[in-house]
Symmetry: D2
Subunit: 284 residues, 4 copies
């Protein structure tokens, strides 16, 4: 299997780190369309489109549904041209592949897999996301996390990674969920728990609220009850969990933090992409 | 005792927060010489030097050994003028009072106490210092703290507050100390330990080194053995624990972080000053 | 709802504790067929079969599939007689109800629910089970848990409750599972992990092995590789996870511990039964 | 240094384990006066008094101030005879050596050192003591430690080792101390704290009280305020911290647990004796 060759196309620091990770495991690997990536050695940067067995595209794979996302290149490459140039029998990986691109791959008979939809990547990404959320809280709050009261909304992967960290800072953590089993477990793990439906009762107690639920829970009504100076960190993907108009009107400080792994720990995020791709290959 | 009146003179956000804290406990309190402090309400800002029982000066109390440290004022007040204006039988608190100012206070028969030298403040400040160190590590490292190897040099107050936090992030923490009892305890608490004398053997293993010891331990020789990309955070007060010339020559990234409580959690730092002053008053 | 009346029939310390718990919440409650229960006050012990809305039977509800399990009584009551005496429209709860008894209840048109099959009870019982396992390990091992190496087989409820406890004693915990997502999460939580299929490689490293998986994993072959003096605690229900013949032949010390909640923390186990019954009633 | 020869004289399981530990490090070692020690191989049991460089006596070294404490022997050996038989220039270690024996050693010009008075042994013993205390609590309480309220009196070594364990079981831990710095630290570590002088106010809140202070704090007055069913574990050495007459009169359940390392983890306790003796030798 170590005879497989990889090419990383486009992307940011993460894809460079993924390339380095794959190389460190003994695979052949090079990069294309990221000539300004400082962390990648010059000899690994291809000028001419390289032949490979596996092509790994960035996360997200595209911003405009036409070209490959390549912020570290002055050039651009459309998926059409990319698919045309590919040798036979290759596997192409990408993150958050839009339906249009999936359809195009099918048209060109290219096998294209989305590593972002893998549970492995989602679980592993919860760690840099949690660390990024803590970094934001430490940076933005004029008080120590020690002895604050904090609320985490949702009881999914990010909460599982974030709650123990907040608790280690001796923040008194409450977890809001609608899942009764999650509530029981979080109580056993030592957190306070509350049913999300009852959130309005106690929402004024917290110094920090971290939302992880992809649901508009922090409505104007809820936001109007927040403690003065409460910081809200929204980790939910679009459209987010906070009514931003109300927040702005009420003067609630909200930090909507998306893509924390890539922003706060790009090298780790790259390793996660690399190891996920490898495990996906192994289980084909 | 609630009849005691406090005046906070000069200082930054911290002294404003200390003032608010004292007021929240039911004491009379106002401020002088910090007219630009946004967190203090206008009616608490005195224009004319206010009579009080207790005057609390900032940390550090002065930068030039002549005037009171007052970064949030366009005016300046010398200690001579301050001592001259004071009513009889007051108590003056300050932080890091130089010998010259202590002598001057004596000359004017003013009782002047240093809250910075109190063990209470030093212990309490270890929390915002630890949180600040974690914030720096999270911000500066392109990898997650998760699964890093970290070394904390010294086994004093800051280490006691910092090591459990790093460990909660699942960093593999080693503590270097010369104190055999500290080494035993830190082993019991689940940390790896090493005698500081043997630090050179393993110093190349770490992704993060936090120095808390007021001793030049990170010499050029030691620094030359560090792992590429190792981040060094120096929390030791002047002259610091890192040979900065060697670090610069070797390309080692060092962040010398002083006064973290005031920078990272000014409101908590102010509360700590306020509560320390109160406890010092109670034990007079 | 507080007008509902409960009767607890038969059972051991747990059912007495469940009765006290229900009473403490303001419900009417009495007991029948446990006249020797010391923890129950005399006035709550009925001589004549009491009329109620809800009858709570023990865990297990029967040992012989004929009579109600009543170790604290010198009398005996068959399910037939019990069902005959019941008023109309009552609800009967029991734990581990055999199919024969379920069928009999149906015959008598009695609504009979099994609290043991509720996820709530199973989750909550993981706490006394974990504490019981730690108690056994502390009692049976001539060494401290501190600095031991321990293996927990399985990654279900009991493991979730037990692993953090062992880890708090600074035992180096490894979790064996076949579920890749569980392995990822347990790694994030700071445990070592191993795929159960590869258990034979490292099984000789451990001082303590706790099995929670209802599967014959600890075969003669595996047991023959154990470290001398390794203690095995088997928490798996019948038929258990250990080849007991091989263990006996090889001189491996195995403690097969079933029903730990009732044995190690009967009062808590009773509260868990009481609260589960209440929540099941509320969701009817 | 590996040429040093050790003889372990008398004692229980611990001294046998200490002998095995010393042997495992490559030293020559044998035993005398513990012929019934099952854990020691027959060939290491001397029939005739063996010549050695270092003699290690048990903890406590004697019960009657005349003979060496030797519960695993049918024979007895007085210190007088022992000192008479010793070669020149040996070092004798013992635990809790009474003044009379120290004086006798001096008379015979024998160098005799007490390992029990070493800070190393005291620190290390806090781990098996803490584990033993948890074992007692788990065994004696009919409820889970989870969600109990517990009080630890004193803030010394045993508390440092015990409090984190109790906390891991999600017991809500309060630490009582008279030392203001200890109170501050324990607050930072996440425990509730109370000044021992104010203990009577809240002492009725706890399900478990562990006393570590060598002071009669749990007087009749205090005991009369305890919650029904509160378990008291007294770890303080003679005369203990509990007024036992009052406890008995009031029906308070007190377990006075002395010598827990030897009782609950004799092998670890033996290793601790062995390693302490070695470190004391190294620092002579």
């Amino acid at each position: 299997m170590n005879k497989i060759k990889f090419t990383f196309v486009g992307g940011d620091l993460r894809l460079g780190a993924a390339h380095e990770y794959i190389k460190s495991l003994g695979y052949m690997s090079d990069t294309f369309l990221s000539e300004k990536a400082e962390s990648v050695s010059k000899k690994d940067k291809c000028v001419i489109f390289p032949l490979s067995d596996v092509y790994v595209l960035p996360l997200p794979v595209t911003n405009d549904k036409i070209n490959i996302n390549a912020p570290l290149s002055d050039l651009s490459l459309s998926f059409k041209d990319f698919f045309t140039m590919l040798p036979d029998n290759v596997i192409v990986f990408g993150g958050m592949i839009p339906d249009e691109i999936k359809a195009l791959a099918k048209e060109y008979s290219v096998t294209m897999l989305d590593y972002y939809s893998s549970e492995e990547l989602q679980i592993k990404n919860s760690v840099p996301t949690a660390e990024g959320a803590i970094e934001i809280a430490l940076r933005e709050m004029p008080v120590t996390l020690y002895k604050t009261k904090s609320l985490i909304i949702g009881s999914g992967r990010i909460t599982k990674a974030t709650a123990p960290l907040l608790s280690a800072f001796k923040s008194l953590v409450t977890i809001a969920s609608r899942n009764p089993d999650s509530l029981l477990w979080n109580e056993i793990f030592g957190f306070n728990t509350i049913n999300t439906s009852n959130i309005s009762e106690s929402v004024g107690d917290y110094d920090l609220i971290i939302n992880t639920a992809p649901e508009k829970i922090l409505t104007g009504n809820i936001l109007s009850r927040l403690k003065k100076d409460c910081l809200v960190i929204d980790l939910a993907s679009r459209p987010g969990g906070v009514d931003m108009d109300s927040a702005s009107r009420l003067g609630v400080r909200v930090i909507w933090a998306l893509g924390l792994p890539g922003k706060c720990a790009p090298v780790s995020a790259g390793h996660i992409i690399g190891s996920t791709v490898l495990n996906m290959l192994n289980s084909i």
